[in-house]
Subunit: 248 residues, 2 copies
DNA sequence: GCCTATTGTCGCAACATGTAACAATTATAA
DNA sequence: TTATAATTGTTACATGTTGCGACAATAGGC
């Protein structure tokens, strides 16, 4: 678990990296969920600053890059074994803007030296994760006050280039989806065909034909029909489906 | 232009980065060409070591990541305005193996200190480029002795994880190709439909149907029929096509 | 029991792709 | 000069996939 001292203590003026992390390199996570027909993204909030940001992470010197991303994901959500993939590296100079972090540190009662390692230029590797909204337990990091789901359609203003990151993650997800049906990762263990279709429609931002969608999904042979779902509503009960694990 | 001193001079024992570059971060280029029905990749060779490697680059502290990749590409090929995209970040600890670089430096008559910045752990951003084989002018960097095209189907043993990089670049290219017809970037200004098909077949490693391929390509409306090509061979002369620039 | 909303499924049209055939063209051989 | 072989551009037809509507089957509301 990251503790405040890991991040806020400078490891010494000669070493620009913080506490055993790779210098100048960060990870930003676009953690996506799906709930009430809405795509959600997990954001950190910094009190007294009005700032929101994507969960981030640093890579330990003795740690693989992807492992660091998984660790950061687990720290924020409590989840393991989740779909998590790189989507882009953000490395423009224009990203180097220490003012938001200064504000955050100040809000935490810290007066960082000008050469504090967090205030330098960072190249950030963007990862996106697809999680079961009902299983994730959001958990803020050492510097943030809240870690909460936000509607993707209605984001608060984000720090630095984090809006671009979300957009690019979404583009990657869309492109990946017609290659592999990874959307399943966003749903609970069992789900109806209607829920799966709504998910796809939300991600792609377009209506899909009901019967073609059903036909296409079933023809993939990655769904197992489990049970009927009792909806309590005035119509035929839909089947529940489960994603066949061995097809992952 | 990179000079030897840029790379071999340590900038001082307190600063782990070399000569104004971002520390611990590199770029590796998978530069692809196409010639004589073969996919080619540009490799650097290090004499006396038997080592081959992908062209690499470092990111200047005042430089955007993508700009650094373009700069490295131009340095190795003389080309500008080329298709060049990130495809993956390689960040495993297991990449950290200083022995090949030690051998290379030794071959150059340099005895690096144990803490030489090139011998540390590097995270590397993989880019792949698609270039016109006939236009590129390969040019070795400060540490290498040769920069030459090699058949992708018959690679020499590569340094570190560079074979994985080539494979992953190829996977990315394949996936990208049925999204956008980016294969054109590998051909000269004008080309026949047969050449275009051979290119696709080589990249995808599978035979394609001739008439469907032609139909599909023409239906994209990105090709302009220019002229007939005189082949000097005993059959009907094929048309030459040009890629419509405005569709790029 | 009738009505309404939703689901599972089927049939048909529209479109795309695989396959083969055919005519056109160009050099070579007879 | 004519036949031949190779390769290309194009078309015709079979096959496969997707879009779209129709229909029956529920399940609760009334």
């Amino acid at each position: 678990m990251t503790v405040l001292s890991d991040i806020t203590n400078s490891p010494g003026s000669v070493d620009p990296s913080g506490a055993g992390y790779l210098p100048g390199l960060a990870i930003d996570l676009v953690i996506l969920g799906f709930h009430h027909s809405q795509l959600k993204v997990l954001l950190l909030e910094y009190e007294n600053t009005g700032l929101f940001a994507l969960p981030a992470g640093f890579i330990q010197k003795k740690e693989d890059l992807n492992a660091a991303a998984h660790r950061a994901l687990t720290e924020r959500t409590g989840l393991q074994g989740i779909f998590l993939e790189q989507f882009y590296v953000f490395g423009d100079r224009s990203r180097h803007d220490p003012s938001p972090l200064k504000a955050i540190l100040k809000g935490k009662g810290i007066s960082p030296s000008k050469r504090h390692w967090l205030l330098g230029r960072f190249v950030s590797v963007g990862f996106y994760a697809l999680v079961d909204f009902t299983k994730a337990v959001p958990n803020p990091d050492a510097l943030s006050d809240r870690c909460e789901w936000h509607d993707l359609a209605n984001l608060p203003p984000l720090m630095l280039d984090h809006e671009t990151m979300v957009q690019k993650a979404l583009d990657t997800l869309r492109a990946a989806m017609d290659r592999k049906p990874i959307g399943f990762n966003l749903l609970p263990e069992t789900f109806t065909m209607g829920e799966l279709q709504t998910l796809h429609e939300t991600i792609l931002n377009q209506k899909l034909n009901r019967s073609s969608f059903q036909r296409r999904m079933l023809s993939l042979n990655i769904l197992e029909r489990v049970d009927k779902k009792w909806t309590g509503r005035a119509h035929k009960a839909p089947y529940l489906y489960r994603f066949l694990q061995d097809k992952k």
